[in-house]
Symmetry: C2
Protein backbone atom coordinates (compact mmCIF):
# COMPACT_ATOMS: atom_id res chain seq x y z
CA UNK A 1 0.00 0.00 0.00
CA UNK A 2 1.41 3.34 -1.03
CA UNK A 3 0.19 6.75 0.05
CA UNK A 4 1.62 9.89 -1.52
CA UNK A 5 0.81 13.38 -0.36
CA UNK A 6 0.73 15.88 -3.21
CA UNK A 7 1.22 19.45 -2.08
CA UNK A 8 0.22 22.40 -4.19
CA UNK A 9 2.48 25.24 -3.11
CA UNK A 10 0.92 28.63 -2.49
CA UNK A 11 -2.54 27.25 -1.75
CA UNK A 12 -1.05 24.76 0.75
CA UNK A 13 -3.56 22.33 -0.70
CA UNK A 14 -2.91 18.66 0.05
CA UNK A 15 -4.26 15.85 -2.06
CA UNK A 16 -3.49 12.16 -1.76
CA UNK A 17 -2.77 9.27 -4.10
CA UNK A 18 -3.53 5.91 -2.51
CA UNK A 19 -2.49 2.76 -4.32
CA UNK A 20 -2.66 -0.92 -3.37
CA UNK A 21 -2.44 -4.10 -5.41
CA UNK A 22 -2.86 -2.47 -8.81
CA UNK A 23 -5.78 -0.24 -7.82
CA UNK A 24 -5.68 3.42 -6.88
CA UNK A 25 -7.76 6.28 -5.56
CA UNK A 26 -7.20 10.01 -5.45
CA UNK A 27 -8.53 12.13 -2.59
CA UNK A 28 -9.30 15.80 -3.30
CA UNK A 29 -7.44 16.10 -6.62
CA UNK A 30 -6.22 19.44 -7.84
CA UNK A 31 -6.94 20.62 -11.37
CA UNK A 32 -3.45 19.79 -12.68
CA UNK A 33 -3.91 16.05 -12.67
CA UNK A 34 -0.76 14.91 -14.47
CA UNK A 35 0.92 14.05 -11.18
CA UNK A 36 -1.79 11.47 -10.34
CA UNK A 37 -1.60 9.94 -13.81
CA UNK A 38 2.20 9.73 -13.51
CA UNK A 39 1.96 8.00 -10.12
CA UNK A 40 -0.61 5.52 -11.45
CA UNK A 41 1.64 4.76 -14.43
CA UNK A 42 4.66 4.31 -12.17
CA UNK A 43 2.73 1.92 -9.89
CA UNK A 44 1.02 0.15 -12.77
CA UNK A 45 -2.29 0.84 -11.04
CA UNK A 46 -5.73 1.84 -12.29
CA UNK A 47 -7.42 4.87 -10.69
CA UNK A 48 -10.83 3.46 -9.74
CA UNK A 49 -12.19 6.14 -7.44
CA UNK A 50 -11.87 9.85 -6.84
CA UNK A 51 -13.05 11.02 -3.41
CA UNK A 52 -13.96 14.58 -2.57
CA UNK A 53 -14.04 15.54 1.10
CA UNK A 54 -16.20 18.59 0.33
CA UNK A 55 -16.90 21.21 -2.28
CA UNK A 56 -13.66 23.12 -2.17
CA UNK A 57 -13.90 26.87 -2.34
CA UNK A 58 -10.25 27.80 -2.65
CA UNK A 59 -9.29 25.77 -5.68
CA UNK A 60 -10.77 24.09 -8.73
CA UNK A 61 -11.19 20.37 -8.26
CA UNK A 62 -9.49 18.06 -10.72
CA UNK A 63 -12.15 15.39 -10.15
CA UNK A 64 -14.16 15.99 -13.37
CA UNK A 65 -10.96 15.99 -15.45
CA UNK A 66 -9.68 12.81 -13.77
CA UNK A 67 -13.05 11.16 -14.42
CA UNK A 68 -12.85 12.13 -18.08
CA UNK A 69 -9.26 10.89 -18.44
CA UNK A 70 -9.45 7.65 -16.48
CA UNK A 71 -13.09 6.60 -16.23
CA UNK A 72 -12.82 6.68 -12.42
CA UNK A 73 -15.99 7.26 -10.39
CA UNK A 74 -16.15 10.51 -8.46
CA UNK A 75 -17.74 10.52 -4.98
CA UNK A 76 -19.08 13.48 -3.05
CA UNK A 77 -21.02 13.92 0.18
CA UNK A 78 -24.75 14.60 0.61
CA UNK A 79 -26.30 18.08 1.08
CA UNK A 80 -24.25 20.15 -1.37
CA UNK A 81 -25.52 23.66 -2.05
CA UNK A 82 -26.32 22.61 -5.63
CA UNK A 83 -25.95 19.18 -7.23
CA UNK A 84 -22.34 18.25 -8.02
CA UNK A 85 -22.83 17.39 -11.65
CA UNK A 86 -19.86 15.08 -12.15
CA UNK A 87 -20.05 13.12 -8.89
CA UNK A 88 -22.17 10.40 -7.30
CA UNK A 89 -23.32 10.72 -3.71
CA UNK A 90 -21.78 8.68 -0.93
CA UNK A 91 -22.94 8.57 2.68
CA UNK A 92 -21.93 7.56 6.18
CA UNK A 93 -20.94 3.91 6.35
CA UNK A 94 -20.34 3.36 2.63
CA UNK A 95 -17.14 1.39 2.02
CA UNK A 96 -14.78 1.20 -0.92
CA UNK A 97 -12.04 -1.34 -1.55
CA UNK A 98 -8.80 -0.27 -3.22
CA UNK A 99 -6.80 -3.49 -3.35
CA UNK A 100 -5.95 -4.36 0.26
CA UNK A 101 -7.01 -0.92 1.47
CA UNK A 102 -10.52 -0.14 2.65
CA UNK A 103 -12.05 3.34 2.83
CA UNK A 104 -15.10 3.97 4.98
CA UNK A 105 -17.18 7.14 4.72
CA UNK A 106 -17.80 9.32 7.78
CA UNK A 107 -20.13 12.34 7.51
CA UNK A 108 -18.32 15.28 9.14
CA UNK A 109 -20.32 18.45 8.33
CA UNK A 110 -19.55 21.86 9.80
CA UNK A 111 -16.97 23.45 7.53
CA UNK A 112 -19.50 22.79 4.77
CA UNK A 113 -22.76 20.86 4.88
CA UNK A 114 -21.37 18.31 2.43
CA UNK A 115 -18.10 17.59 4.29
CA UNK A 116 -17.02 13.96 4.48
CA UNK A 117 -14.05 12.20 5.99
CA UNK A 118 -12.71 8.92 4.59
CA UNK A 119 -11.37 6.45 7.14
CA UNK A 120 -8.54 4.20 5.92
CA UNK A 121 -8.15 0.58 6.99
CA UNK A 122 -5.41 -1.87 6.02
CA UNK A 123 -7.23 -5.16 5.44
CA UNK A 124 -4.13 -7.11 6.53
CA UNK A 125 -3.94 -5.23 9.86
CA UNK A 126 -7.52 -4.32 10.43
CA UNK A 127 -7.70 -3.57 14.14
CA UNK A 128 -8.56 0.13 14.18
CA UNK A 129 -8.15 2.52 11.26
CA UNK A 130 -4.62 3.42 10.22
CA UNK A 131 -5.53 6.88 8.93
CA UNK A 132 -8.29 9.31 8.03
CA UNK A 133 -8.63 11.89 5.26
CA UNK A 134 -10.30 14.75 7.11
CA UNK A 135 -10.72 17.37 4.39
CA UNK A 136 -11.27 20.75 6.07
CA UNK A 137 -12.89 19.35 9.22
CA UNK A 138 -9.69 18.67 11.16
CA UNK A 139 -6.30 20.15 10.33
CA UNK A 140 -2.97 19.60 12.06
CA UNK A 141 -3.05 22.15 14.89
CA UNK A 142 -6.41 23.65 13.88
CA UNK A 143 -9.97 22.83 12.84
CA UNK A 144 -12.04 24.02 9.88
CA UNK A 145 -13.59 27.48 9.62
CA UNK A 146 -17.37 27.60 10.07
CA UNK A 147 -18.22 31.02 8.65
CA UNK A 148 -19.54 30.09 5.22
CA UNK A 149 -23.23 30.14 6.25
CA UNK A 150 -23.67 33.56 7.89
CA UNK A 151 -27.28 32.84 8.93
CA UNK A 152 -26.43 29.54 10.64
CA UNK A 153 -23.21 30.34 12.47
CA UNK A 154 -24.00 28.62 15.76
CA UNK A 155 -25.64 25.63 14.11
CA UNK A 156 -22.71 24.83 11.81
CA UNK A 157 -20.15 25.39 14.57
CA UNK A 158 -22.13 22.82 16.58
CA UNK A 159 -22.10 20.44 13.60
CA UNK A 160 -18.31 20.75 13.45
CA UNK A 161 -18.04 19.99 17.17
CA UNK A 162 -20.03 16.78 16.66
CA UNK A 163 -17.94 15.87 13.61
CA UNK A 164 -14.71 16.32 15.57
CA UNK A 165 -16.07 14.05 18.31
CA UNK A 166 -16.61 11.41 15.62
CA UNK A 167 -13.06 11.86 14.35
CA UNK A 168 -11.57 11.64 17.86
CA UNK A 169 -13.49 8.39 18.29
CA UNK A 170 -11.37 6.77 15.58
CA UNK A 171 -8.63 6.27 18.17
CA UNK A 172 -5.31 7.85 19.07
CA UNK A 173 -3.44 5.56 16.67
CA UNK A 174 -5.16 6.96 13.59
CA UNK A 175 -3.04 9.17 11.30
CA UNK A 176 -4.52 12.47 10.10
CA UNK A 177 -4.47 13.50 6.45
CA UNK A 178 -6.11 16.91 6.00
CA UNK A 179 -6.79 18.82 2.79
CA UNK A 180 -4.58 21.75 3.81
CA UNK A 181 -1.30 22.48 5.49
CA UNK A 182 0.05 25.70 7.02
CA UNK A 183 -0.36 28.75 4.79
CA UNK A 184 -3.91 28.00 3.67
CA UNK A 185 -6.68 30.60 3.94
CA UNK A 186 -8.86 27.75 5.21
CA UNK A 187 -7.39 27.89 8.72
CA UNK A 188 -5.30 30.24 10.81
CA UNK A 189 -3.39 28.25 13.44
CA UNK A 190 -2.18 25.23 11.52
CA UNK A 191 1.02 23.49 12.54
CA UNK A 192 4.01 23.92 10.27
CA UNK A 193 4.12 20.14 9.98
CA UNK A 194 2.28 17.72 7.75
CA UNK A 195 2.20 14.58 9.88
CA UNK A 196 0.13 13.90 12.96
CA UNK A 197 -2.31 11.47 14.50
CA UNK A 198 -5.69 11.75 16.18
CA UNK A 199 -3.92 11.16 19.50
CA UNK A 200 -1.39 13.93 18.95
CA UNK A 201 -4.15 16.34 17.90
CA UNK A 202 -6.23 15.39 20.93
CA UNK A 203 -3.27 16.33 23.15
CA UNK A 204 -2.15 19.47 21.31
CA UNK A 205 -4.70 20.99 18.92
CA UNK A 206 -5.99 24.12 20.72
CA UNK A 207 -9.55 23.72 19.39
CA UNK A 208 -9.72 20.16 20.68
CA UNK A 209 -8.87 21.29 24.21
CA UNK A 210 -12.36 22.82 24.49
CA UNK A 211 -14.50 20.08 26.00
CA UNK A 212 -17.79 21.91 26.21
CA UNK A 213 -19.96 22.08 23.07
CA UNK A 214 -21.33 25.58 23.81
CA UNK A 215 -17.87 26.94 24.63
CA UNK A 216 -16.59 25.51 21.34
CA UNK A 217 -19.46 27.17 19.44
CA UNK A 218 -18.76 30.50 21.17
CA UNK A 219 -15.08 30.28 20.21
CA UNK A 220 -15.84 29.45 16.57
CA UNK A 221 -18.45 32.19 16.18
CA UNK A 222 -15.97 34.74 17.58
CA UNK A 223 -13.40 33.92 14.86
CA UNK A 224 -12.74 36.34 12.02
CA UNK A 225 -11.81 35.02 8.60
CA UNK A 226 -11.43 36.67 5.24
CA UNK A 227 -13.48 35.30 2.39
CA UNK A 228 -11.31 35.86 -0.68
CA UNK A 229 -13.31 37.18 -3.65
CA UNK A 230 -12.52 34.17 -5.85
CA UNK A 231 -14.12 31.65 -3.48
CA UNK A 232 -17.56 32.07 -5.15
CA UNK A 233 -16.08 31.43 -8.61
CA UNK A 234 -14.34 28.27 -7.39
CA UNK A 235 -17.55 27.04 -5.76
CA UNK A 236 -19.54 27.48 -8.97
CA UNK A 237 -16.84 25.70 -10.95
CA UNK A 238 -16.77 22.82 -8.50
CA UNK A 239 -20.50 22.23 -8.73
CA UNK A 240 -20.66 22.32 -12.53
CA UNK A 241 -17.29 20.71 -13.16
CA UNK A 242 -14.34 22.28 -14.91
CA UNK A 243 -12.22 21.46 -17.89
CA UNK A 244 -8.54 20.65 -17.84
CA UNK A 245 -6.18 23.58 -17.39
CA UNK A 246 -5.49 25.34 -20.70
CA UNK A 247 -2.24 24.52 -22.52
CA UNK A 248 0.87 26.61 -21.91
CA UNK A 249 0.65 30.08 -23.47
CA UNK A 250 2.25 31.04 -26.77
CA UNK A 251 4.70 33.95 -26.81
CA UNK A 252 2.95 37.18 -27.89
CA UNK A 253 4.53 39.77 -30.15
CA UNK A 254 5.86 42.89 -28.36
CA UNK A 255 3.12 44.87 -30.15
CA UNK A 256 0.64 43.11 -27.89
CA UNK A 257 2.24 44.90 -24.92
CA UNK A 258 1.59 48.30 -26.52
CA UNK A 259 -2.04 47.47 -27.16
CA UNK A 260 -3.20 44.71 -24.80
CA UNK A 261 -6.85 45.24 -25.75
CA UNK A 262 -9.03 44.53 -22.73
CA UNK A 263 -6.48 42.08 -21.25
CA UNK A 264 -4.98 42.60 -17.82
CA UNK A 265 -1.20 42.82 -18.08
CA UNK A 266 0.29 40.57 -15.36
CA UNK A 267 4.03 40.80 -14.66
CA UNK A 268 5.40 37.76 -12.79
CA UNK A 269 9.15 38.43 -13.15
CA UNK A 270 9.78 39.54 -9.57
CA UNK A 271 9.94 42.79 -7.59
CA UNK A 272 13.37 43.95 -8.80
CA UNK A 273 12.69 43.24 -12.44
CA UNK A 274 9.40 45.10 -12.12
CA UNK A 275 11.10 48.05 -10.42
CA UNK A 276 13.72 48.08 -13.16
CA UNK A 277 11.09 48.63 -15.84
CA UNK A 278 7.56 47.55 -16.69
CA UNK A 279 4.57 48.36 -18.83
CA UNK A 280 2.46 51.20 -17.41
CA UNK A 281 -0.68 49.88 -15.75
CA UNK A 282 0.55 46.32 -15.41
CA UNK A 283 0.04 44.32 -12.24
CA UNK A 284 3.07 42.81 -10.45
CA UNK A 285 2.67 39.43 -8.76
CA UNK A 286 6.02 37.60 -8.56
CA UNK A 287 5.68 33.98 -9.62
CA UNK A 288 6.20 32.52 -6.14
CA UNK A 289 3.29 34.59 -4.77
CA UNK A 290 1.01 33.83 -7.69
CA UNK A 291 -0.87 30.87 -6.26
CA UNK A 292 -1.81 32.83 -3.15
CA UNK A 293 -2.65 36.20 -4.71
CA UNK A 294 -3.71 35.79 -8.33
CA UNK A 295 -7.20 34.77 -7.25
CA UNK A 296 -7.57 37.87 -5.09
CA UNK A 297 -6.25 40.41 -7.55
CA UNK A 298 -7.11 39.25 -11.06
CA UNK A 299 -10.64 39.68 -12.41
CA UNK A 300 -12.01 36.33 -13.49
CA UNK A 301 -13.61 37.50 -16.71
CA UNK A 302 -10.79 39.14 -18.67
CA UNK A 303 -7.91 37.67 -20.67
CA UNK A 304 -4.48 37.92 -19.07
CA UNK A 305 -1.36 39.07 -20.89
CA UNK A 306 1.54 37.47 -19.08
CA UNK A 307 4.97 39.11 -18.80
CA UNK A 308 7.68 36.68 -17.68
CA UNK A 309 11.46 36.52 -17.62
CA UNK A 310 11.69 33.49 -19.89
CA UNK A 311 9.73 30.60 -21.36
CA UNK A 312 9.99 28.41 -18.25
CA UNK A 313 8.71 31.11 -15.93
CA UNK A 314 5.83 31.85 -18.33
CA UNK A 315 4.82 28.19 -18.50
CA UNK A 316 5.03 27.76 -14.70
CA UNK A 317 3.05 30.94 -14.07
CA UNK A 318 0.37 29.96 -16.60
CA UNK B 1 8.90 21.24 9.83
CA UNK B 2 9.41 18.91 6.92
CA UNK B 3 10.02 15.20 7.04
CA UNK B 4 10.90 13.28 3.90
CA UNK B 5 11.21 9.52 3.73
CA UNK B 6 13.87 8.39 1.28
CA UNK B 7 13.41 4.84 0.12
CA UNK B 8 16.20 2.83 -1.42
CA UNK B 9 14.51 0.29 -3.66
CA UNK B 10 15.67 -3.31 -3.52
CA UNK B 11 17.02 -3.03 0.02
CA UNK B 12 13.73 -1.49 1.22
CA UNK B 13 15.95 0.77 3.29
CA UNK B 14 14.28 3.90 4.65
CA UNK B 15 16.18 6.99 5.66
CA UNK B 16 14.76 10.34 6.71
CA UNK B 17 15.50 13.99 6.06
CA UNK B 18 14.14 16.25 8.79
CA UNK B 19 14.25 19.99 8.31
CA UNK B 20 12.92 22.88 10.39
CA UNK B 21 13.71 26.60 10.40
CA UNK B 22 16.84 26.38 8.29
CA UNK B 23 18.37 23.42 10.10
CA UNK B 24 18.30 19.79 9.08
CA UNK B 25 19.16 16.29 10.21
CA UNK B 26 19.46 13.00 8.38
CA UNK B 27 18.55 9.72 10.03
CA UNK B 28 20.28 6.55 8.79
CA UNK B 29 21.65 7.95 5.53
CA UNK B 30 22.43 5.66 2.64
CA UNK B 31 25.76 5.84 0.85
CA UNK B 32 24.39 7.80 -2.13
CA UNK B 33 23.96 11.07 -0.31
CA UNK B 34 23.09 13.42 -3.18
CA UNK B 35 19.40 13.22 -2.35
CA UNK B 36 19.99 14.69 1.15
CA UNK B 37 22.18 17.46 -0.23
CA UNK B 38 19.51 18.26 -2.83
CA UNK B 39 16.79 18.44 -0.18
CA UNK B 40 18.93 20.70 2.02
CA UNK B 41 19.61 22.99 -0.94
CA UNK B 42 15.90 23.07 -1.83
CA UNK B 43 14.96 23.97 1.77
CA UNK B 44 17.87 26.36 2.24
CA UNK B 45 18.80 24.42 5.36
CA UNK B 46 22.10 23.32 6.88
CA UNK B 47 22.55 19.65 7.78
CA UNK B 48 23.72 19.87 11.42
CA UNK B 49 23.37 16.29 12.58
CA UNK B 50 23.42 12.78 11.20
CA UNK B 51 21.81 10.16 13.44
CA UNK B 52 22.44 6.45 13.16
CA UNK B 53 19.93 4.12 14.79
CA UNK B 54 22.45 1.27 14.77
CA UNK B 55 25.34 -0.20 12.90
CA UNK B 56 23.57 -1.32 9.76
CA UNK B 57 24.56 -4.67 8.39
CA UNK B 58 22.69 -4.67 5.09
CA UNK B 59 23.97 -1.46 3.57
CA UNK B 60 26.88 0.96 3.74
CA UNK B 61 26.07 4.03 5.79
CA UNK B 62 26.42 7.42 4.11
CA UNK B 63 27.16 9.06 7.46
CA UNK B 64 30.95 9.41 7.02
CA UNK B 65 30.49 10.84 3.53
CA UNK B 66 27.82 13.30 4.72
CA UNK B 67 30.12 14.36 7.55
CA UNK B 68 32.92 14.96 5.06
CA UNK B 69 30.68 16.93 2.67
CA UNK B 70 28.70 19.03 5.15
CA UNK B 71 30.62 19.16 8.42
CA UNK B 72 27.61 17.64 10.20
CA UNK B 73 28.21 15.70 13.42
CA UNK B 74 27.47 11.98 13.29
CA UNK B 75 25.88 10.31 16.32
CA UNK B 76 25.84 6.62 17.17
CA UNK B 77 24.73 4.60 20.18
CA UNK B 78 26.88 3.07 22.92
CA UNK B 79 28.18 -0.54 22.96
CA UNK B 80 29.11 -1.04 19.31
CA UNK B 81 31.08 -4.18 18.50
CA UNK B 82 34.08 -1.99 17.61
CA UNK B 83 34.40 1.79 17.84
CA UNK B 84 32.53 3.66 15.09
CA UNK B 85 35.41 5.76 13.88
CA UNK B 86 33.47 8.61 12.30
CA UNK B 87 30.77 9.05 14.95
CA UNK B 88 30.38 10.45 18.45
CA UNK B 89 28.48 8.52 21.09
CA UNK B 90 25.03 9.57 22.21
CA UNK B 91 23.05 8.01 25.05
CA UNK B 92 19.58 7.74 26.54
CA UNK B 93 18.13 11.14 27.36
CA UNK B 94 20.43 13.23 25.13
CA UNK B 95 18.48 15.85 23.19
CA UNK B 96 19.16 17.64 19.93
CA UNK B 97 17.39 20.71 18.53
CA UNK B 98 16.82 21.03 14.83
CA UNK B 99 15.03 24.38 14.54
CA UNK B 100 11.63 23.90 16.15
CA UNK B 101 12.05 20.13 16.23
CA UNK B 102 13.53 18.27 19.16
CA UNK B 103 15.04 14.78 19.03
CA UNK B 104 15.47 12.78 22.20
CA UNK B 105 17.59 9.62 22.37
CA UNK B 106 16.12 6.35 23.59
CA UNK B 107 18.36 3.29 24.00
CA UNK B 108 16.57 0.35 22.37
CA UNK B 109 19.04 -2.55 22.15
CA UNK B 110 18.09 -6.05 21.04
CA UNK B 111 18.47 -6.08 17.27
CA UNK B 112 22.02 -4.91 17.96
CA UNK B 113 23.63 -3.84 21.23
CA UNK B 114 24.10 -0.32 19.89
CA UNK B 115 20.50 0.24 18.71
CA UNK B 116 18.98 3.63 19.44
CA UNK B 117 15.62 5.20 18.71
CA UNK B 118 15.21 8.96 18.26
CA UNK B 119 11.97 10.42 19.59
CA UNK B 120 10.66 13.48 17.70
CA UNK B 121 8.92 16.38 19.41
CA UNK B 122 7.43 19.49 17.81
CA UNK B 123 8.38 22.32 20.17
CA UNK B 124 5.23 24.25 19.22
CA UNK B 125 2.96 21.31 20.07
CA UNK B 126 4.99 19.56 22.69
CA UNK B 127 2.46 17.38 24.51
CA UNK B 128 3.70 13.88 23.71
CA UNK B 129 6.08 12.96 20.92
CA UNK B 130 4.81 13.24 17.36
CA UNK B 131 7.01 10.47 15.98
CA UNK B 132 9.90 8.11 16.60
CA UNK B 133 12.68 6.81 14.38
CA UNK B 134 12.90 3.19 15.48
CA UNK B 135 15.72 1.83 13.31
CA UNK B 136 15.46 -1.97 13.29
CA UNK B 137 13.85 -2.28 16.74
CA UNK B 138 10.23 -1.80 15.62
CA UNK B 139 9.00 -2.15 12.06
CA UNK B 140 5.50 -1.69 10.70
CA UNK B 141 3.91 -5.11 11.27
CA UNK B 142 7.08 -6.71 12.64
CA UNK B 143 9.96 -6.26 15.09
CA UNK B 144 13.70 -6.57 14.60
CA UNK B 145 15.54 -9.87 14.26
CA UNK B 146 17.63 -10.89 17.27
CA UNK B 147 19.87 -13.58 15.79
CA UNK B 148 23.11 -11.64 15.34
CA UNK B 149 24.65 -12.82 18.63
CA UNK B 150 24.36 -16.63 18.47
CA UNK B 151 25.71 -17.09 22.00
CA UNK B 152 23.29 -14.64 23.60
CA UNK B 153 20.02 -15.44 21.84
CA UNK B 154 17.73 -15.34 24.85
CA UNK B 155 19.44 -12.33 26.39
CA UNK B 156 19.16 -10.13 23.29
CA UNK B 157 15.57 -11.22 22.63
CA UNK B 158 14.83 -10.08 26.19
CA UNK B 159 16.59 -6.77 25.54
CA UNK B 160 14.37 -6.25 22.48
CA UNK B 161 11.25 -6.99 24.56
CA UNK B 162 12.29 -4.28 27.05
CA UNK B 163 13.07 -1.86 24.21
CA UNK B 164 9.65 -2.42 22.65
CA UNK B 165 8.03 -1.72 26.04
CA UNK B 166 9.87 1.62 26.05
CA UNK B 167 8.66 2.39 22.54
CA UNK B 168 5.05 1.49 23.38
CA UNK B 169 5.32 3.88 26.32
CA UNK B 170 5.69 6.81 23.94
CA UNK B 171 1.92 6.78 23.46
CA UNK B 172 -0.55 5.64 20.84
CA UNK B 173 -0.36 9.02 19.05
CA UNK B 174 3.30 8.62 18.15
CA UNK B 175 4.10 7.95 14.48
CA UNK B 176 6.57 5.18 13.64
CA UNK B 177 9.47 5.71 11.25
CA UNK B 178 11.50 2.50 10.89
CA UNK B 179 14.70 1.92 8.94
CA UNK B 180 13.11 -0.68 6.69
CA UNK B 181 9.91 -1.36 4.82
CA UNK B 182 8.54 -4.58 3.37
CA UNK B 183 11.04 -6.51 1.26
CA UNK B 184 13.98 -6.11 3.63
CA UNK B 185 16.02 -9.07 4.79
CA UNK B 186 15.91 -7.46 8.25
CA UNK B 187 12.36 -8.66 8.95
CA UNK B 188 9.93 -11.19 7.57
CA UNK B 189 6.38 -10.08 8.36
CA UNK B 190 6.47 -6.37 7.61
CA UNK B 191 3.35 -4.60 6.45
CA UNK B 192 3.26 -3.53 2.82
CA UNK B 193 2.67 0.02 4.06
CA UNK B 194 5.06 2.71 5.23
CA UNK B 195 2.89 4.67 7.66
CA UNK B 196 1.76 3.67 11.11
CA UNK B 197 1.68 4.77 14.72
CA UNK B 198 2.63 3.21 18.04
CA UNK B 199 -1.10 2.77 18.71
CA UNK B 200 -1.75 0.99 15.43
CA UNK B 201 1.24 -1.30 15.99
CA UNK B 202 0.10 -2.02 19.53
CA UNK B 203 -3.25 -3.18 18.14
CA UNK B 204 -1.98 -5.05 15.08
CA UNK B 205 1.72 -5.97 15.12
CA UNK B 206 1.78 -9.75 15.80
CA UNK B 207 4.97 -9.56 17.92
CA UNK B 208 3.41 -6.89 20.13
CA UNK B 209 0.44 -9.13 20.93
CA UNK B 210 2.73 -11.30 23.08
CA UNK B 211 2.40 -9.84 26.57
CA UNK B 212 4.69 -12.20 28.41
CA UNK B 213 8.45 -11.56 28.29
CA UNK B 214 9.44 -15.25 28.35
CA UNK B 215 6.89 -16.13 25.65
CA UNK B 216 8.27 -13.30 23.50
CA UNK B 217 11.83 -14.59 23.97
CA UNK B 218 10.71 -18.13 23.07
CA UNK B 219 9.06 -16.84 19.90
CA UNK B 220 12.11 -14.81 18.84
CA UNK B 221 14.57 -17.63 19.52
CA UNK B 222 12.46 -19.98 17.39
CA UNK B 223 12.71 -17.68 14.33
CA UNK B 224 14.87 -18.61 11.38
CA UNK B 225 16.58 -15.88 9.38
CA UNK B 226 19.18 -15.95 6.65
CA UNK B 227 22.36 -14.01 7.20
CA UNK B 228 23.39 -12.89 3.72
CA UNK B 229 27.13 -13.28 3.10
CA UNK B 230 27.71 -9.56 2.55
CA UNK B 231 26.47 -8.55 6.04
CA UNK B 232 29.97 -8.94 7.54
CA UNK B 233 31.53 -6.72 4.88
CA UNK B 234 28.88 -4.01 5.47
CA UNK B 235 29.46 -4.18 9.22
CA UNK B 236 33.20 -3.71 8.84
CA UNK B 237 32.66 -0.79 6.48
CA UNK B 238 30.24 0.83 8.86
CA UNK B 239 32.65 0.73 11.76
CA UNK B 240 35.60 2.10 9.84
CA UNK B 241 33.66 4.48 7.64
CA UNK B 242 33.39 4.33 3.87
CA UNK B 243 34.15 6.67 1.05
CA UNK B 244 31.64 8.11 -1.37
CA UNK B 245 30.35 5.77 -4.04
CA UNK B 246 32.77 5.66 -6.99
CA UNK B 247 31.92 7.81 -10.00
CA UNK B 248 29.89 6.36 -12.86
CA UNK B 249 31.86 3.82 -14.89
CA UNK B 250 33.54 4.61 -18.18
CA UNK B 251 32.61 2.54 -21.21
CA UNK B 252 35.14 -0.23 -21.77
CA UNK B 253 36.34 -1.31 -25.19
CA UNK B 254 34.75 -4.53 -26.49
CA UNK B 255 38.22 -6.13 -26.18
CA UNK B 256 37.75 -6.00 -22.41
CA UNK B 257 34.85 -8.45 -22.80
CA UNK B 258 37.12 -10.96 -24.54
CA UNK B 259 39.71 -10.70 -21.79
CA UNK B 260 38.16 -9.44 -18.57
CA UNK B 261 41.27 -10.27 -16.57
CA UNK B 262 40.23 -11.30 -13.07
CA UNK B 263 37.05 -9.19 -13.20
CA UNK B 264 33.63 -10.74 -12.74
CA UNK B 265 31.49 -10.05 -15.79
CA UNK B 266 28.07 -8.84 -14.58
CA UNK B 267 25.25 -8.55 -17.13
CA UNK B 268 22.39 -6.32 -15.94
CA UNK B 269 20.42 -5.99 -19.21
CA UNK B 270 17.55 -8.30 -18.28
CA UNK B 271 16.58 -11.95 -18.68
CA UNK B 272 15.56 -11.79 -22.34
CA UNK B 273 18.60 -9.83 -23.45
CA UNK B 274 20.77 -12.30 -21.58
CA UNK B 275 19.00 -15.26 -23.17
CA UNK B 276 19.45 -13.64 -26.59
CA UNK B 277 23.21 -13.59 -26.23
CA UNK B 278 25.84 -13.02 -23.58
CA UNK B 279 29.49 -13.50 -22.78
CA UNK B 280 30.30 -17.03 -21.61
CA UNK B 281 30.78 -17.16 -17.86
CA UNK B 282 29.06 -13.88 -17.14
CA UNK B 283 26.60 -13.49 -14.32
CA UNK B 284 23.07 -12.23 -15.05
CA UNK B 285 21.38 -10.00 -12.48
CA UNK B 286 18.76 -7.76 -14.15
CA UNK B 287 19.09 -4.17 -12.96
CA UNK B 288 15.86 -4.17 -10.94
CA UNK B 289 17.05 -7.17 -8.91
CA UNK B 290 20.53 -5.79 -8.40
CA UNK B 291 20.06 -4.11 -5.04
CA UNK B 292 18.69 -7.30 -3.50
CA UNK B 293 21.05 -9.85 -5.05
CA UNK B 294 24.37 -8.23 -5.99
CA UNK B 295 25.54 -8.46 -2.38
CA UNK B 296 24.74 -12.17 -2.26
CA UNK B 297 26.26 -13.18 -5.56
CA UNK B 298 29.23 -10.93 -6.26
CA UNK B 299 32.54 -11.47 -4.50
CA UNK B 300 33.56 -8.32 -2.67
CA UNK B 301 37.21 -8.41 -3.64
CA UNK B 302 37.25 -8.52 -7.44
CA UNK B 303 36.66 -5.82 -10.04
CA UNK B 304 33.34 -5.97 -11.87
CA UNK B 305 32.99 -5.61 -15.62
CA UNK B 306 29.48 -4.31 -16.19
CA UNK B 307 27.42 -5.18 -19.28
CA UNK B 308 24.41 -2.91 -19.74
CA UNK B 309 21.95 -2.02 -22.47
CA UNK B 310 22.93 1.65 -22.61
CA UNK B 311 24.70 4.41 -20.71
CA UNK B 312 21.76 5.16 -18.41
CA UNK B 313 21.37 1.56 -17.33
CA UNK B 314 25.12 1.27 -16.73
CA UNK B 315 25.16 4.39 -14.57
CA UNK B 316 22.09 3.28 -12.57
CA UNK B 317 23.50 -0.20 -12.05
CA UNK B 318 26.88 1.14 -10.98
Amino acid sequence: MRLEKIKTQGLAHLSYFLSADGEAAVIDPRRDIDIYLDLAREEGSVIKHVFETHRNEDLLSGAPVLKEETGAKVWHGPNPEKPIQYAAETREGDTFEIGGALLKVLETPGHTDDSLSYVLYDKSFEEGPVGVFTGDALFIGDVGRTDFYPDRKREVAGLLYDSLEKLLGLGDQCLVYPAHGAGSVCGSGMADREFSSIGHEKLNNPSLQIDDREAFIDAKVAENHYIPPYFRRMEEGNMEGTEAAPPAPLPASPARLLDPGDAVCLDVRGIFDFAGGHRTGSLCIPDDMLAAFAGWLLPGDKPVLLVARDDDQAVDAA
